[in-house]
Each structure stands twice: as C-alpha cells, then as structure tokens.
Symmetry: C2
Subunit: 144 residues, 2 copies
DNA sequence: GTGGCTGCAAACATTTTGCATAACT
DNA sequence: AGTTATGCAAAATGTTTGCAGCCAC
C-alpha cells in the first residue's frame, strides 16, 4: 500500500473529496511531471470534469500534507507537479528529449553536511536541477 | 574592469542602448537578486524612467550574452535576476531573513562528474537551491 | 538614412479568489 | 445540519508582444 491519501487527509482535518483523490491518482499513475493544466486535462476526459481551480486547490492541500511537490523544471513555464518522495530532490532534465530523471540523495546529504558543518547553515530543503543531454540523445547526435 | 557590457553587446550585433546598460548597472551595484519589477523601480527614480517591458527585453539580451542569469528563488514568486558568474550556481537562501548566499562550485563539479561518469549524462547547467536557516537567524532563535 | 530598440498599452499565461451551490462528515 | 470544498467566472500577477516613433549605427 503506497500511501493512504484518504487517511492522511482525514488525519489533518481535511475532507476526502473526489478532486483530491483524483488529482493524486493522476500524478501517481502518470508517474511524471505534470502541470496543473495537464492534470485538469487528464481529468476532463474521465467521468466528471474537475476544474482547473479545483486542481490548484487540491494540489495546495496535497502539498501541505507533503504528498506532492512542485518544481520549476523550465525557466518561464508553469510549475510541474509530482508525488513527493522524501529522498528525491534531484532532477535531471534532458533538454533534447524532455525526459526527467530522479536521482536519490547521496549527493544531497553531502551538500547538507557541508553547509551544516562548514557554514552553520541549517538546510531545510534542497533542490538540485541539472539540465543537459541524456545518454540516448547523445548517441543519436554523435557519430561514433 | 569587470565586464565591458558595451563591447559584448556590439560584438554580438546588438546595439548599445541606455536601458541595457542601466539594467546591467542596477544588477551590478545592487549586488543582489532583483525581480524585473524591482529593477524597473530602481530605474524609475533615476534620470529617465525605463519601462518594465524594456527591462524584460534588456534582461533577455543580457541573458543571451550570459551576462546575467535568472533564478526562481521562491516557489510562486517572480524570477530573480543577478549578474552571471560562471561558477556560482549554488544559491543558499535563508527563509528567515531572506538573505541569499552564493557558494562556489566544488560540489557542483562533484555532481557533474557523477552524472558524466556514472550515467553518461552530459550536464549543461546545474542549479542548486538550498532553503534553510542561516547562522545568524539560528543564533537569534536559539537560547544557548 | 535605416533597422533595430523603446515606450505604451493591450494580450497572454499561470495562479488565485469571491460567491452560490453541492458534498463530506 | 453544519461547514468545508467545488465550479464558474472574474481578478491578480508576471511576462510577452504589436505598433508607432526614436535612436544607435
């Protein structure tokens, strides 16, 4: 059982509603980084259309519960949302194919330790975003 | 002489204009992270008011020349702009006092090497954003 | 003198909000 | 039943763009 969203909602005094469950479900099954708009689109094709504003409100609540997380993968674009895995703070984005990879945290803890020990800075949240070209796209571009 | 903006502009076929020079000057002297709006404000008090749209267009050109850089230091807010120093990809933001620190790159190159060697991923741009509490603010909050 | 740049205002995109209705508890 | 959440539409925010006149070249 991954995460009982309903229980988490109830535990914090939030009501368990369709939009909230559905938004979470979309993010879970899509297994990717979706904008609020894309989530709303995905839900529009389903049984009952869920409004964009409800998507935003659902995301705000799920974010509050630390069930989802937003990140700005591109410069000017909209925020992208994904399930929150506590140890995945590390986005690797291929600028060629748009693929997004996660890396788990050993480097993140190196950064944490460095700041804590060397600078007496207490880190709460670390975001690492790398843009570049993935192995597959490099293979296509390169000759050898 | 830090950087001859005029020369860089000319070299790329851009014209040397007041707004471009002034926007760069504001960022250089402010020595901080300003939003486009704050830059426009700073220029409004000066001799000739420079429009917000001109600020955006100037920033786009300066970004193109890699003289300035934008970063999303906060979640929903506007982009913040600063001079581009090639080895400063590492933002440390204090959520208490709002202070922004730069760290130079040893950790960044660790990340680069890891991705290149271990994953055949060619990094082009790395952004590290850490939010937390700085030493000064911790001192105020703590007792001992 | 010419073409790129600016200012202005209007358009755009994303996100937030007010209010009446509907739904969870 | 009581309240909180939703849907709709309108507002707020940050950023981009079209166009006429201006300025660097």
């Amino acid at each position: 059982m991954p995460t009982d969203v309903a229980a988490r909602l109830r535990a914090q005094g939030y009501r368990v509603t369709e939009p909230r469950l559905r938004v979470y479900e979309v993010l879970r099954t899509a297994d990717g980084h979706l904008t609020a708009d894309e989530i709303a689109d995905a839900l529009a094709h389903g049984a009952e259309p869920t409004t964009l504003s409800s998507v935003y409100r659902a995301l705000a609540v799920l974010d509050e519960l630390e069930l989802v997380r937003s990140s700005r993968l591109t410069d000017g674009d909209a925020s992208h949302w994904e399930l929150a895995h506590p140890d995945e703070h590390f986005h690797v984005v291929c600028t060629s194919c748009g693929d997004v990879d996660h890396h788990r945290g050993s480097l993140v803890s190196v950064i944490e330790d460095h700041l804590r020990d060397g600078h007496r800075f207490e880190p709460e949240e670390i975001t690492v975003l790398v843009r570049g070209t993935c192995a597959r796209c490099r293979g296509v571009a390169d000759s050898a």
